[in-house]
């Protein structure tokens, strides 16, 4: 009995999941496009698939600083914020209300354009649950907007001529009515 406990203790030390017990958190370091450097807790870093793949699949040492040339510093801050909360809520039995409250605050001060940028980043970093949440958040914000707003937001050019545009519009004129166009 005591032998196995000893074995367990030694196994624990080698693999590191209860490294917290020994007060040494494994950290992963990334550098974003603007040169900012972030130290992530291992458990949070592993939520980000692109980071997980980089370190685990290629067995790269945690001492390497992973470059993230497509990610801005402010975006990394938000991603870390969300993933940290997600990990925290994983262990909670009934985190529904807390999650909802957190999500509302998370998007509160972000413009729709920033939200969209963050969505693309979540996609690049491969954090599925964050991507799902952000896609939903963006769709909520644009659902009552008009065509011009959406073109501007996504940087899309209108390639319809006037006649074509009117033709497409005429297929469902009611869809262009009764919008609320609050400026965002």
């Amino acid at each position: 009995m005591s032998t196995s406990t000893d074995n367990n203790a030694s196994i624990t030390q080698e693999s590191g999941p209860s490294a917290a017990v020994q007060d040494i958190q494994k950290k992963i370091v990334v550098r974003t496009a603007d040169g900012e450097v972030f130290n992530l807790k291992e458990e949070v870093a592993m939520e980000i698939d692109i980071i997980k793949t980089f370190f685990q699949e290629d067995s790269i040492s945690y001492e390497t600083v992973m470059p993230l040339p497509n990610v801005e510093g402010w975006e990394m801050v938000k991603v870390i914020e969300y993933c940290t909360k997600h990990v925290e809520l994983k262990h909670k039995v009934d985190g529904y209300k807390e999650r909802k409250a957190f999500q509302a605050l998370f998007v509160q001060n972000l413009s729709t354009k920033s939200l969209l940028a963050l969505t693309n980043t979540a996609n690049y970093l491969e954090v599925k649950y964050l991507l799902d949440f952000l896609c939903q958040a963006v769709s909520e914000q644009i659902k009552n907007k008009d065509v011009d707003y959406v073109r501007e937001l996504f940087g899309v050019e209108n390639d319809f001529n006037d006649e074509e545009y009117e033709q497409v519009k005429a297929e469902a004129p009611w869809a262009h009515e009764n919008l609320n166009n609050d400026l965002h």
Binding site: N120, T121, N123, Y124, K143, G155, V156, F160, E171, A172
Partner: protein, 403 residues
């Protein structure tokens, strides 16, 4: 979405560089309500192509169907067709005037259509199935069916069924996921002339179902639950309905089965019964009337499909229930025909019901045992059908398989 022009354009976007920019846009768009998507078809040619693409439409539909609380629209028909949001009805207070409704443009057909002769057969995934020329009399010809998406305006008049229609006909409409196809059912229980024919949307034609296990006389329009149609069995004695069973027709199997009532109705009374699916669960409404005095109206929900013991009584309305202004009592009968139609049940348990002879649409609160009228058209009878707003095409169904 293989438009090279679009890919080039997307790279001009001032956003974080991403290989899958297209994929993000698709994910965002598929979470939008149908109305927004119809509008955004005008954004650019690439978006128009995406939003019209059958695979995108299917993805959009599955997003709607997996939402925890679907927002229903209601199709209301009296002299014209109108659509309103169920949420708007819940928030409606009588002093606000009228519930905001959108008038729908009924398709212009090359024949005369009398709106009053239209029978709504069912709604499924945003498609409404109707009969354009419903009548009670035996005719030489057959009924004309139509599939309509009131959101996109697309419609399709189906070829005539290869059978005669009669007063002893029943109908249903639904989706069968095993074949990814929409089916319209037309059956007859006229003695010596029983049949069931099914129209399959992808094939575009009617087919007679051979070797059916049995035939039933059932009440006209079936309700759809779990890809199965349900009707109340029409067992009569001396002209009175005495049934205690629901007949189901599995759209995949194409066979009839029976589901018993929660309990047999009181044989001394005269039963009025109807099935519905206001909360996507099989719901049964019945009321026993004794010597022209209305009995209690009961509503049961089958919480676990197919399990008789799971029938749960959710509503028990005695005839003395009044409206919130204490003016008009609820009445459920009209010329001896059942006319309670439960459209929806909201999260707080309020039930949207259609009443006669007032002809109104009311919200009944089972806890307070009061109801409030939300729509009142004293001159016309009208039907209410819940549906969801989708882009599903009645021409092709969910996927792009062309007929």
């Amino acid at each position: 979405m293989s438009d090279a022009l679009c890919s080039r354009r997307q790279k001009q976007v001032v956003l974080s560089e991403s290989v899958d920019l297209d994929c993000v846009i698709v994910e965002i768009l598929s979470r939008l309500p149908a109305k927004s998507l119809l509008r955004f078809r005008c954004v650019c040619k690439a978006w128009r192509a995406l939003i019209s693409d059958p695979y995108f439409i299917r993805k959009h539909l599955s997003c709607i169907n997996t939402k925890i609380s679907t927002s229903y629209s209601l199709l209301i028909r009296d002299e014209i067709f109108q659509s309103t949001e169920y949420e708007a009805i819940l928030k409606f207070l009588s002093h606000d005037g009228r519930v905001p409704c959108r008038r729908l443009d009924f398709p212009v057909l090359d024949r005369l259509v009398i709106i009053k002769r239209i029978l709504i057969v069912g709604s499924c995934n945003g498609l409404i199935c109707l009969i354009l020329d419903y009548h009670h009399f035996l005719m030489e010809e057959s009924f004309t069916f139509m599939l309509w998406n009131p959101c996109t305006g697309e419609y399709r008049v189906l070829p005539k069924p290869p059978v005669h229609s009669s007063r002893e006909c029943f109908f249903g409409f639904g989706y069968d996921s095993t074949t990814d196809d929409y089916k319209v059912i037309l059956g007859s229980y006229l003695s010596g002339y029983e049949y069931v024919v099914v129209f399959m949307l992808k094939r575009g034609s009617w087919r007679k179902i051979e070797r059916l296990n049995r035939y039933f006389g059932v009440r006209r329009v079936g309700c759809l639950v779990n890809e199965t149609l349900h009707w109340v069995l029409k067992e009569e004695e001396d002209g009175r309905l005495i049934t205690s069973r629901i007949v189901s027709f599995d759209l995949a199997e194409e066979k009839f089965h029976e589901i018993p009532f929660p309990h047999p109705p009181n044989p001394n009374g005269f039963l009025i019964a109807e099935v519905g699916n206001p909360c996507n669960c099989l719901t049964l409404v019945f009321q026993t009337v004794y010597s022209d005095v209305e009995g209690t109206l009961k509503m049961w929900v089958m919480k676990e499909y197919g399990v008789k013991e799971s029938w749960t009584e959710i509503v028990n309305i005695s005839p003395e229930v009044m409206d919130e202004d204490e003016n008009i009592p609820l009445e459920f009968m009209y010329d001896g025909e059942p006319y309670t139609y439960m459209a929806c049940i909201s999260d707080n348990g309020e039930i949207l019901m259609q009443l006669e002879p007032i002809g109104a649409l009311a919200l009944y609160n089972p806890r307070e045992k009061k109801y409030r009228t939300v729509m009142d058209y004293p001159d016309y009878m009208y039907e209410t059908v819940p549906y969801i707003e989708t882009l599903v095409s009645p021409l092709t169904g969910s996927t792009g398989a062309t007929v």
